[in-house]
């Protein structure tokens, strides 16, 4: 991980086509993400943003029918979900799953150790782990009762999102894909989440923010902004594009694309 340099390719997607329940959702999507970058993928509801996120994490029931995705030089689509995770790909879910009866902290410790084993590092024991997680919980302003609870069990929408970011800060991924991490957060919680994400910005990793609104981008300033609509990346630009989308909506991007 440490040998990744700013500007190295982390993720390269070309011509990706994905069907969900027989319906074409992604229709030839291209995207390149390099180390040190923060990308924002924006687009109307139902455009396929979550589909893209889930496919990159390895969701089995979404059928990839064409295209490639290369992650750190490997064929990403050939890897099982757990292999992707151990190689440092992290998905923050739009709808984190509740798993009653599976302890939040034990899961996170197992996740960290799975990653460390892959990296050839020694596993952390319960004591070391607690020290790590408590430090990150301070950053995420989460109280210690989270340690005892089941995974997302009975968490509010905002708590679930914080928990996703807590996991991310502990796992220190190479590529973080955060799907609508801002939705359902009040402004204070949004700042906490943005803090967590910003704490992870580094030259040797990349972050992909999937979002519907531009307000998150006031707190986490992206290097690149893309519009996902009609199953493709229709337009890419810088921060200014996000502001323009907020003013003008998405229709003009589609019209522009149709005119071509």
């Amino acid at each position: 991980m440490s040998n990744i340099q700013k500007g190295n390719s982390i993720l390269e997607i070309s011509g990706l086509k994905v069907n969900v329940q027989g319906k074409a959702i992604l229709k030839g999507l291209d995207l390149t993400v390099r180390a040190g970058e923060v990308h924002a993928i924006m687009g109307p509801n139902g455009a396929g943003k979550s589909t893209l996120s889930q496919v990159l994490a390895g969701r089995p029931d979404y059928a990839v029918i064409a295209g490639h995705a290369t992650y750190l030089g490997e064929d990403l689509l050939a890897l099982a979900p757990e292999e992707r995770a151990r190689r440092g790909l992290f998905l923050g879910f739009q709808y984190p799953v509740e798993i009653p009866g599976v302890n939040n902290v034990y899961l996170l410790k197992a996740a960290l150790n799975a990653r460390r084993r892959h990296l050839g590092l020694q596993e952390v024991d319960a004591f070391e782990f607690l020290a790590i997680v408590k430090e990150k919980m301070v950053l995420m302003q989460m109280d210690e009762s989270f340690l005892k609870r089941g995974v997302n069990e009975g968490f509010s929408g905002g708590e679930k999102k914080r928990n996703e970011i807590l996991q991310m800060t502990v796992l220190e991924p190479t590529l973080a894909i955060l799907d609508e991490t801002d939705s359902g957060l009040d402004i204070d919680a949004l700042k906490v989440v943005a803090n967590g994400v910003n704490s992870l910005r580094a030259d040797n990793r990349a972050i992909v923010l999937v979002t519907h609104y531009q307000r998150l981008l006031d707190h986490i300033v992206p290097d690149h902004v893309h519009v996902l609509a009609g199953g493709r990346i229709l337009k890419s630009g810088d921060r200014g594009l996000a502001l323009e989308l907020e003013r003008r909506g998405y229709d003009w991007v589609l019209e522009e694309a149709n005119a071509e």
Partner: protein, 432 residues
């Protein structure tokens, strides 16, 4: 090549064994007549509605007579956690004084079923025996011993009473009767434990009567041998303001069935039944409950979890009856079942028969596979598939496991239950 059919049924082959059983001449006659009727009726089959999901045909090749006592391995009770209180041990239905504690909980007295064999037998059955009652009838025919326990009103021993039923092979007919006087309070832990590799047939009967305001927490831990066939028939009468809690953990046996009938006989009576059934390999685990709300202001709750893997089979057949006039009844019934393989199956039949107004009843039964969304979430956190599946399975049974007491027993059961899961080792650290 087809197997040669047995010339006589397993029940008919029992006849010579009757002569060896103790009891008055009247008992001998009663037994002969009862067994003859059972031979005529045959064992229950899936054609009998109450046995719809349980097929006893593998009994036809079994020896149903009780074997002569034989020496036991010295570590025979090692499989159990340390005794939580006074322990009574029965081997193939016969009291074993050397393995048992002589002291009983304060306020408790004990006699033996054997003393009844000196008195008159029950009235003779005329005509066919209901399929529901045949194994009870067989038990009474064959039982030679068994605890008859009375806990005096107001007594509340601090430690649980344990009853261990050991099976060494051949027939075992444990018979237990427990009565709690008014306001008495007891924890009873019952073990069904096989001495491997016992090819046992166990037909157990337990009758429980709870007086007004009495409280019984009854835990049944079924650890029969892998080749054992076990049928357990428990009948509980719950008096006014009394409370009956049952915890079933069914882990062993080739085929095991637990029949639990609870009559809520006094206003304010409560029943809280929870159970966990593991049918791995080619094991069968069946549970049938009948909750009879006979009077107003009673409540019952049932929570059963079944897990079947390999070619395992299971069933939950639960019926709640609310009698006419049993107003203000509250009843909840939930059976959730998890299939870990394509060849596993669990049948459910929750039934509700309501004959009264102003009642609150909820019931539901589901059978499904592991939740794919949960599984995917765990995989995206780097857990391997086997660990993720084991964790989810363990979580599935957690809400039954966590209410087992005392802690030493719960931990033993957790270890045992874990041993039945794939990847047990890898998820041990998750269980704090």
């Amino acid at each position: 090549m087809s197997a040669r059919p047995e010339a006589t049924s397993a029940l008919a082959r029992l006849q010579p064994a009757l002569a060896r059983l103790p009891g008055t001449r009247a008992w001998q006659q009663w037994r002969a007549a009862t067994l003859a009727q059972l031979v005529a009726d045959g064992l229950p089959t899936p054609r009998d509605d109450s046995w719809k999901y349980t097929n006893l045909r593998l009994l036809e090749r079994r020896e149903l007579a009780t074997a002569a006592p034989r020496p036991l391995p010295s570590d025979v009770l090692q499989a159990l956690p340390a005794a939580q209180g006074p322990r009574l041990v029965y081997v193939d239905g016969r009291f074993h004084s050397a393995l048992s504690d002589s002291e009983l909980p304060a306020g408790m007295s004990r006699t033996s079923h054997a003393t009844l064999l000196d008195g008159p037998p029950p009235p003779e059955q005329s005509g066919p025996v209901d399929a529901d009652l045949r194994l009870r009838s067989l038990n009474l025919c064959m039982a030679v011993d068994g605890a008859r326990l009375l806990l005096a009103g107001g007594s509340a021993p601090a430690r649980p009473l344990e009853i261990v039923h050991l099976h060494t092979g051949g027939g075992a007919y444990p018979r237990t009767r427990l009565e709690l006087g008014a306001g008495a309070k007891l924890a009873l832990i019952e073990y069904q434990l096989g001495v491997d590799p016992a090819d046992a047939f166990v037909a157990a009967v337990t009758d429980i009567v709870l007086g007004p305001g009495a409280t019984l927490t009854h835990t049944t831990v079924q650890l029969a041998s892998d080749r054992a066939v076990l049928v357990d028939d428990t009948h509980v009468s719950v008096g006014r303001d009394a409370r009956y809690s049952h915890r079933l953990v069914a882990l062993g046996g080739q085929l095991a069935r637990f029949d639990l009938r609870v009559d809520l006989d006094g206003a304010g009576a409560e029943a809280d039944l929870r159970g966990l059934l593991f049918a791995d390999g080619t094991r069968e685990q069946h549970i049938r409950t009948l909750l009879d709300h006979r009077v107003p202001h009673c409540s019952s709750a049932q929570l059963y979890r079944g897990v079947a893997g390999g070619r395992g089979r299971g069933s939950y057949d639960g019926k709640v009856i609310v009698r006419a006039g049993a107003a203000k009844t509250s009843s909840r019934q939930s059976s959730r079942n998890l299939l870990l393989s394509k060849d596993a199956a669990i049948d459910t039949r929750p039934q509700l028969e309501i004959n009264a107004d102003d009642v609150k009843c909820a019931h539901g039964a589901t059978t499904g596979t592991l939740d794919e969304n949960m599984l995917f979430y765990l995989l995206t956190r780097g857990l391997d598939r086997q660990t993720a599946r084991a964790l989810l399975t363990y979580a599935f049974v957690g809400d039954v496991l966590k209410c087992i007491e005392p802690q030493a027993l719960r931990q033993m059961i957790e270890r045992r239950a874990l041993g039945r899961l794939p990847a047990a080792e890898t998820i041990r650290e998750f269980i704090a």
